[in-house]
Each structure stands twice: as C-alpha cells, then as structure tokens.
C-alpha cells in the first residue's frame, strides 16, 4: 500500500509542483530551431547524458560488487563464530 501511494505521489508530484508556475521570464519556449544549430548541439547533449548514464551504471555496479564482497566476509565470520 505504501509503495502504491509512493508511486502515485511520484507521478503526480511533477505536475503539482508546476501547477502554480509563473509566466516565463528567463527561459522562453520555441517550437523550431535552425537545423544547423541542432546538429552542433547534439554531440554536446549526447555527451552530457551519456556521461551521467554511464556514471550511474558504473557506480551501481561498483556498490553491488563491494556490498557482495563485504556480506560474504560477514557471513563467513558469523558462521565461524557459531
């Protein structure tokens, strides 16, 4: 039940958080951008998102590996104690 409520909150929160937003002052949305400009921006965007994605995956893998090693040691020590 708690998980369900949390999932619902996570889906509603972004919309609710923005419900009271003010009219734009700094960032202005447009529909189209010059084709040349898009080509130049793509490698930068791909690099930024790629770096973060790879960083997260490597870090999760690193924690998993370290945790597995420590919990193995812990299980061995506890079994020796008994």
């Amino acid at each position: 039940m708690r998980m369900l409520l949390m999932c619902a909150w996570l889906l509603i929160a972004p919309v609710m958080a923005h419900a009271q937003s003010q009219p734009p002052k700094d960032f202005v949305a447009v529909d189209e951008t010059a084709p040349g400009e898009q080509i130049a921006a793509m490698p930068l965007i791909a690099s930024a998102y790629g770096f973060i994605w790879v960083g997260v995956l490597v870090y999760v893998w690193s924690i998993g590996r370290r945790l597995q090693k420590v919990e193995g040691e812990l299980a061995e020590l506890e079994s020796r104690k008994k």
């Binding site: 447009v30 930024a48 945790l67 420590v70």
Partner: protein, 218 residues
C-alpha cells in the same frame, strides 16, 4: 538489499528509461536552442550534489558532537555521492556552456565555488581512505565546514555578477519545460535515496566485519 530498496531501484530505473522521451517532447529554448536540454539532467545533478554535501555535513555533526558511530557511515556515503553528483554537474555544465556561452569554463562565483565544493569532498574521501587513525574526526570537521560552501554556491548567482542563470529560472519556467524538469528532479531524488541507502549499508556492514574481526582476535 531490502525489498524497499529493490522497489525504489526498479522505479528509479524506470523513470530514467522514460526520461529521454519526456525530455525529447519538451520545446526548444528561444536563445539557447536545443542545447538547453542538458539542463534537465544538469540541474537535478547540481541539487543532489548540494543535498549530498548537506547530508554529509549533518551526519558528521551527529558523529562528532553526539558520538553516533553509525552517523559516520551515513556521512561517508553522502560524501561519495557528493563527488558522484558533483562530477555529473561539473561535466554536464561545461558541455552546455560550450554552446550557450561559447566557452567551456568561466571563473565566475557559481562555477568556482561548485568546483571548490567538489574538491573538498574529493579531499574528504582521500583523507578517509589514506588518513589513518583520527581521519574520521578530521573528515567530519571538513564535511561540517562544507555546509558553509553549499550556502555560498546556492546564493552566488543572485548576489554576484555572473553569466550562470539565476535561481529564479526554476519557478518561472513554462509548464512544458517544467514538467520534464520536475520529472527528472524526482528521478534524481529517488536515485540519490537509493544510492545513499546502499552505500551506507556497505559502510555499516564493513563496521560489523571489523567488530567481528576484533572480537575474534581478542
């Protein structure tokens, strides 16, 4: 890994998988064009960077002043996350700046103070790894001191002349840009909580292993 952590990890992975589609649907920005879309991962990374630094500072204060041994594990876990999210911020920022400002880097207050905060936590981790006995207390002092820098990083764009967008950008975003941003902020917050729990668990299990080794020796 507890079931809650596993569910949260699955939910975070799902949100990160959906995020590119939501970001792709967002409109372009009038002056920066397409490249501003780096903002949807850059800003949440920067927030988590500051939250990780504050978490580490608070946990260090609990360890140092209230002698809560487990708080040291939370402090170390949060410090490692400060370095991780700091790296995300300091890499994605210059990639955005290269197109938006025409330069990779500017020595302005926001960028410089963010770099200093990142280096403080790199120093913290090096100290904890190679500092020997007493490094936990010295590290705790460093983490508490870093909170002052967090405040400086946050207010720097509003008080000094800088080309970095001010904090007022977030509440004034148009709805079609705000929804992907808050979606990404939620995904990054979940990611931060999951990683913090996992990393702190690792530190607490290490402490248990050390205690069992000591008990075996004596």
């Amino acid at each position: 890994m507890t079931r809650t952590t596993l569910y949260m990890l699955a939910l975070t992975a799902g949100m990160f998988a959906v995020a590119p589609f939501i970001i792709n649907a967002a409109p372009n920005e009038a002056t920066m064009g397409l490249v501003y879309k780096i903002y949807f991962f850059h800003m949440p990374s920067a927030w988590m960077f500051l939250i990780a630094a504050i978490t580490s500072g608070i946990a260090s204060a609990r360890f140092l002043f209230f002698k809560k041994q487990s708080a040291d594990g939370w402090a170390l876990a949060a410090a490692e996350l400060a370095v991780l999210f700091g790296a995300f911020t300091l890499v994605s920022g210059p990639l955005w700046a290269r197109k938006a400002w025409g330069v990779w880097w500017q020595w302005d207050p926001r960028l410089t103070s963010s770099l200093v905060l990142f280096l403080m936590f790199v120093a913290y981790l090096l100290l904890r790894r190679f500092g020997g006995p007493g490094s936990d207390k010295l590290g705790a002092g460093m983490a508490i001191f870093s909170i002052a820098n967090v405040i400086f990083v946050y207010v720097s764009v509003n008080y000094w002349r800088t080309i970095h967008p001010p904090t007022s950008v977030v509440p004034t975003l148009p709805v079609e840009m705000g929804i992907p941003l808050w979606f990404c902020v939620t995904a990054f917050t979940l990611l931060f909580i999951v990683l913090l729990r996992l990393r702190a668990r690792l530190e607490h299990q290490r402490a248990r292993v050390e205690a069992l080794f000591l008990a075996e020796e004596s």
